[in-house]
């Protein structure tokens, strides 16, 4: 099936089988390998992208379902090479080690902060619960998100 998807403001086209997962389309067809693929059953959150502004698991959607839709991936956070406040805060607060889970965390929490700019620590921890990190632990991640949220509030 022929599909066309807008990713980070650019059109991408591809020929996919119905069973092709959106996560595989993003990585293999669009070549945007910032999005990671972990468990492929909706648990780890590594493949999280934004579909029309909402954070979703790209391993739980078929690529054909994104036909004609608009996606944002981690590459879209820093389009001109300048880091997004969240990315900078992750760097500064040591919120990553291997970095595999980071794109998923960033896309989840960026969507959350747009809706809840004033979220407190408890709410942030709940919002982060859908993404797993297996090396850093979560203290640095929570701190980074709080730091970025403060900066984004201005």
């Amino acid at each position: 099936m022929r599909i066309g998807v807008e990713i980070n403001g650019r059109p991408y086209e591809g020929e996919v089988e119905p069973r092709t997962l959106l996560s595989d389309f993003i990585r293999h067809d669009a070549g945007l390998t910032g999005t990671k693929v972990g468990c492929e059953q909706g648990v780890c959150g590594a493949c999280t992208v934004q579909l029309d502004g909402e954070a979703v698991r790209s391993c739980l959607m078929l690529a054909v379902q994104a036909n004609g839709r608009s996606l944002r991936t981690v590459e879209g956070l820093a389009p001109d090479g300048e880091l997004h406040p969240l990315q900078r805060a992750f760097h500064e607060a040591h919120a990553l080690q291997c970095g595999f889970c980071t794109p998923g965390f960033l896309m989840s929490i960026e969507a959350f902060l747009r809706e809840h700019p004033d979220a407190g620590e408890e709410q942030l921890r709940e919002a982060l619960a859908g993404n797993l990190c297996r090396c850093t632990g979560y203290l640095g991640i929570v701190e980074a998100v709080e730091r970025a949220a403060r900066e984004m509030r201005g």
Binding site: P18, L21, Q41, G42, C59, L60, M61, Q65, A129
Partner: protein, 265 residues
């Protein structure tokens, strides 16, 4: 990891969907339960019928006092509905506990009801509120209450050629006081146990346990006791009396007590 090959049809209406349904087809709504099953090849349908384009099933509205929820309504839409948080707050409390925001952005109310996971929150809340489940097929339509609908773990009364189109909550369930409590190891994980309690305006009570069995279990003896004026702790102990396993029984009793107290406050 790849699902086994399947044919794919995207339907744009209920009428277009119904002739496609049968033993070898699977309905794809939000996909938050079906797609993992496809990826793990635990489900191998020949045909996947995508109903994401069936916008006629995406609504939450009050109709003559009753609440009508289209089966394709996303969980996030239920969560954001002011009508629901003001008039049916139990549903709001329950849906906030479903998975994570990324799951609720795609997951649907109908999908949760059809998947019928014993650890799912929405079936428990809907059962406590007296929901009726409306089905359509090429041959006709029917509606079932929770007791007939939930048959077992991941098993409902839906026939392969039927489509769940609507969940209806009766007018009597509006403006009831309610409570929902659950225990999960981390926020958003599947709950080990939980309870939903409702005190209706007419003095009646509903109490449904999560995780006490394969289906949302109404604790009828405890409901009668509550309507008769029993204390929360007493009714909760009665509800959990027959739950198997010491740990689970203690959890159910404690969570039922919290839910009842929230509904009584």
């Amino acid at each position: 990891m790849k699902p086994a090959p399947f044919d794919y049809r995207a339907a744009a209406s209920v009428d277009e969907t119904l002739p496609l349904l049968g033993l070898d087809s699977a309905v794809l709504a939000g996909g938050q339960s079906l797609v993992p099953l496809l990826n793990l090849r635990l489900a191998r349908p020949e045909l996947v019928v995508d109903i994401n384009g069936v916008t006629e099933l995406d609504y939450v509205r009050e109709d003559d006092g009753a609440l009508r929820i289209g089966a394709m309504t996303r969980q996030v839409a239920l969560e954001r509905s002011e009508l629901v948080s003001e008039r049916w707050p139990l549903l709001h409390k329950a849906v906030e506990l479903v998975g994570h925001p990324q799951i609720r952005a795609r997951g649907t109310v109908g999908g949760s009801v059809v998947h019928a996971d014993p650890a799912a929150e929405l079936p428990v809340a809907l059962t406590a509120l007296g929901a009726r489940f409306h089905l359509r097929s090429a041959d006709g339509a029917r509606a079932l209450g929770a007791a007939e609908w939930f048959k077992g773990a991941l098993y409902t009364a839906r026939e392969p050629q039927e489509l769940l189109v609507e969940i209806e909550l009766p007018a009597e369930s509006a403006d009831a006081r309610s409570g929902f409590a659950e225990h999960a190891r981390t926020h958003g994980d599947f709950a080990t146990a939980g309870a939903a309690a409702v005190r209706f305006r007419d003095g009646g009570a509903a109490l449904v346990l999560l995780g006490a069995g394969d289906v949302p279990a109404r604790a009828e003896a405890a409901e009668r006791a509550l309507a008769g004026g029993a204390a929360p702790r007493e009714a909760a102990a009665l509800a959990a009396r027959d739950v198997a396993g010491d740990h689970r029984r203690a959890l159910c009793a404690e969570l039922a007590r919290r839910a009842i107290e929230e509904a009584t406050a």
